[in-house]
C-alpha cells in the first residue's frame, strides 16, 4: 500500500488473481504496475538495456501470475520477495542469452519451466525433441484451428484451470473443458502432421 493507500495489498492481488474472471485481469494489471519500478532498477543493476529489463519484467509478472493461479505460490515468502527473486533470475537469463547468443525456438518461454515435472534424467532428451519441432509451423496452424480452440488453448497456456475455462464457456463440468481442449490439441496435431 502507498502512503495514501492507492495500491492494493499483495494479499488482495493474490486473492483477485485466484478469484478468476474479469477480476483476474484487473489484479494482473495491478500487479504489473505495483512493481514496475524494478525495470529501471534491474536495468541499472545488471547493466542491461531498459527494453530488455522491461521484457524480463513482463515475463516475471506472467510467471508469477501463473504460479499464483496454479497454487505454486503458497505465500511462504512475501509476494514482493517472490517477484524480486524471479525478476533477478530473468535478468540473469537476459545476460546469459546475450553472452552465449543461445538460439532456440522461443525467445521468452523457459523450457526449464515447462519441464518442471519431468525427472532430470529425461529433461535433456525431451528438451531436444521440443527443439526439433517446427515452431513457426505450429504458430501458423494455431491461427487456423478456429477461434474457440484458439481461445481455449490460449487460456490453458496462461494457466487458467479447466474449471475456469468451463465457467467461461458454460461447460457443465471441468472434464468437458479438458476434453474440448485436448480435442483442439489433437486437431492441431493432425494439421501439423498433414503439413509435414
Amino acid at each position: 500500500m502507498t502512503i495514501f493507500g492507492t495500491q492494493p495489498s499483495d494479499q488482495d492481488i493474490v486473492d483477485g488473481i485466484r478469484t478468476g474472471g474479469s477480476q483476474r485481469t484487473h489484479f494482473e494489471n495491478r500487479l504489473y504496475y505495483k512493481y514496475r519500478y524494478l525495470i529501471r532498477n534491474g536495468s541499472r543493476k545488471h547493466k542491461i538495456e531498459e527494453d530488455d529489463a522491461s521484457i524480463a519484467y513482463s515475463d516475471t509478472i506472467l510467471t508469477v501470475i501463473e504460479h499464483i493461479a496454479a497454487g505454486r505460490f503458497e505465500g511462504r515468502s512475501e509476494l514482493k520477495t517472490y517477484v524480486h527473486q524471479i525478476f533477478l533470475n530473468k535478468c540473469v537469463d537476459v545476460i546469459r542469452k546475450r553472452t552465449t547468443n543461445t538460439a532456440q525456438g522461443f525467445q521468452r518461454v523457459s523450457l526449464d519451466d515447462l519441464l518442471i515435472p519431468v525427472p532430470d534424467t529425461q529433461r535433456t532428451a525431451l528438451a531436444d525433441l521440443i527443439r526439433q519441432q517446427d515452431h513457426q509451423r505450429i504458430r501458423q496452424l494455431l491461427t487456423r484451428i478456429g477461434e474457440r480452440c484458439q481461445e481455449i488453448l490460449t487460456l490453458w497456456s496462461e494457466g487458467f484451470s479447466d474449471r475456469e475455462i468451463a465457467l467461461q464457456y458454460h461447460y457443465n463440468t471441468d472434464g468437458v473443458a479438458q476434453t474440448t481442449r485436448l480435442r483442439c490439441l489433437e486437431k492441431l496435431r493432425v494439421m501439423y502432421k498433414g503439413s509435414q
Partner: protein, 230 residues
Amino acid sequence: MYETIDNYFEGRLSATERAAFERKLEQDKALADEAAFYLSTKAALKEQSFQKRHAEWTKARPVQPLRWQWTSGVAAAMVLLIAVWYVVIPSNHTLQEYAEVYIEENLMQLNTHLDTTADSLQTAIDYYNHQKYREALSIFTRLARANPRIRAYEYEGLTQLQLKNYDAALVIFERMAADTELLENRGKFYAALTYLKKGNNSTAQRLLEEVITQDLAGKSEAERWLTTVR
C-alpha cells in the same frame, strides 16, 4: 494419449501413475514426441500471450485529439491538475519499496574480507550469502561478543534484519549508530530500513532526515527517497 500427457503435466496423476508414465516416456519414442508437441504448443501460445500482454502493459496512452476552442480551458485545467498532483499525489514508490529494493540490491551479499582475523567470520559471511541466516547469526553473535571492533556486530544486525527479528536488529543498529569510532557509520540508516520493514514510517522518516542533516552514510539514498515520496 493427450489425456495422460495432460494429466501428468497438470499434476493430476498419482505417484504410481506418474512413475509409470515417466518409465514409458523414457522408452516410448512416440509418446515422447507427443509430449514434445504438447509442450511446444503450450510454449508457442505462451509466447503469443507474452507479446500481447507486454504490448498492452508498455504501450503509451493514446493522445486524444483536441478541438482548438477547448485547448485553452484544457491547458488551464492541466496546470491546476499538475499543481494538485505535486501537492497531493505521492510517487508510485513507497519508502517501504525503496527499502526493499535497497536490501535486495545491497544487503543480500556481504563482501568477503581478506583481513579477517578469524576464519569463522568468513564462514559466517558464506552462510549469510547463501541465506543460511540462522547458522550465520550464531557465529556473528559469538564474534561480536568476543571482539566488538570487528564488523561482526554490524553483520549480526543485518542477519537479524534478514530473519525479520526487527527488534533485535534495532538494538544492534542503534548501538552502532552511537559508536563514534566507526569511519563509515551506517547504523542510523540501517535502523531506518528496519523501521520501514516494521511498517513504522514516521520513525523511519525521522531517522532518514537525521542521516541527511548529520551527513551520515546512506545520505544520498535518504535524500533521493524522501524527495521522491515527499
